[in-house]
């Protein structure tokens, strides 16, 4: 899929969510859904299989998100999957999140942790990252067991790695 098309979808989803007045929630839910999509082969196969009719793929999305996400989020994901663009869903969502952050003059900060953060920790971490980078950040937390412990924060091209995984890898390479 071309960048223009991904941008077009991202812009459309962003405008719909903004028009609905749920951009913050939708952006957050879409971001989480994209990470789940990336980490689950089963989900990815189900939403990108051309042999499965579009209606059935959309039904899968609605089953997954129904009651757990806003209807706007569900419908947007369903629309993308129904259009046969399931494979590009993470890229479209990442572009949408970047656009939303840019609209709020925020820098997207993707944070990966082994365990969920409390809201207090998220707030303090956002403040710490803002302090470190000199920019206000739009914090997106991804729970990733592969991190093992600690935090990995990615802000633009900057990566602040305080994960146990990395330390173990360094230790192993020294061994």
């Amino acid at each position: 899929m071309s960048d223009n098309r991904i941008d077009g979808y991202a812009r459309a989803l962003f405008e719909i969510a903004r028009a609905e007045g749920t951009i913050d929630e939708v952006e957050d839910e879409l971001f989480r859904f994209a990470r789940s999509y990336e980490s689950s082969d089963e989900l990815r196969n189900a939403l990108t299989d051309e042999q499965i009719p579009a209606a059935k793929r959309q039904a899968i999305v609605e089953d997954l998100l129904g009651g757990k996400a806003t209807s706007t989020t569900t419908q947007l994901v369903s629309m993308v999957v129904g259009a046969g663009r399931g494979r590009e869903l993470p890229a479209i969502i990442d572009r949408l999140v970047a656009r939303a952050s840019s609209a709020k003059n925020l820098e997207l900060a993707e944070v990966r942790t082994a365990v969920p953060l409390t809201s207090d920790q998220e707030t303090r971490l956002a403040a710490a990252l803002a302090n470190a980078t000199g920019k206000q950040v739009n914090l997106k937390v991804v729970v990733d067991p592969a991190v093992l412990g600690g935090v990995v924060a990615t802000i633009g091209d900057t990566v602040i790695d305080g994960s146990v995984r990395t330390r173990i890898d360094q230790l192993k390479s020294r061994l």
Partner: protein, 188 residues
């Protein structure tokens, strides 16, 4: 009959010449007419012999001389041929001896070269073998070392994973997160 008898008897048989002297035939010389006739006859016979038998005798002698000369020439030629053949044989003998010496010298040189070549090849093969053996020993040692290091690293990695993941309880997780927030917040 004795010698005296031989002399006395002719005297007894002598004739008497007109003077009454005893005349006897000489025991040595024939009668004069006999000498004359005998001499003439001998001359005639000799002349006839010279005239008629001389050329044949001369021819026969010349043929004989020629035959003898031919035989002498043949013998000389045979002698010369024999001498030439003897020279050739001696020369061939000398050539054979020289050839034998040359072949022997050549064989010696070849044998020496082959021996030297064999020694050099053997030395080279020994050196190669030694080098290969050293390399193989080093490789085996290195491989063993690598395998040992890999095994240690694998066990160490497994131990690290086991120990670290086993010790990551909730309190540790929170401590790690708080530590990260504190470090990032302090940095600028």
């Amino acid at each position: 009959m004795s010698v005296l008898g031989t002399i006395i008897r002719p005297m007894a048989e002598c004739g008497i010449d007109a003077n009454g002297d005893c005349v006897t035939h000489s025991p040595i010389l024939p009668e004069t007419p006999e000498i004359i006739w005998g001499g003439l006859a001998s001359i005639i016979i000799f002349a006839l012999l010279v005239k008629f038998a001389g050329p044949a005798i001369k021819k026969g002698m010349a043929a004989r001389t020629e035959r003898i000369q031919k035989e002498l020439d043949g013998a000389a030629a045979a002698k010369a041929a024999a001498a030439t053949e003897a020279t050739q044989i001696r020369q061939a003998k000398g050539d054979i001896a020289g050839e034998r010496a040359r072949i022997l010298a050549e064989a010696d040189a070849q044998a020496t070269a082959v021996l030297e070549d064999g020694r050099a090849r053997l030395r080279q093969e020994l050196a190669d073998l030694e080098t290969r053996t050293r390399a193989e020993i080093a490789a085996v040692g290195s491989r063993a070392g690598d395998e040992l290091r890999a095994e240690i690293a694998r066990l160490s990695n497994a131990a690290v994973d086991h120990v670290v993941t086993g010790s990551l309880d909730d309190a540790t997780q929170q401590e790690l997160i708080e530590g990260f927030i504190a470090r990032v917040g302090a940095a600028k």
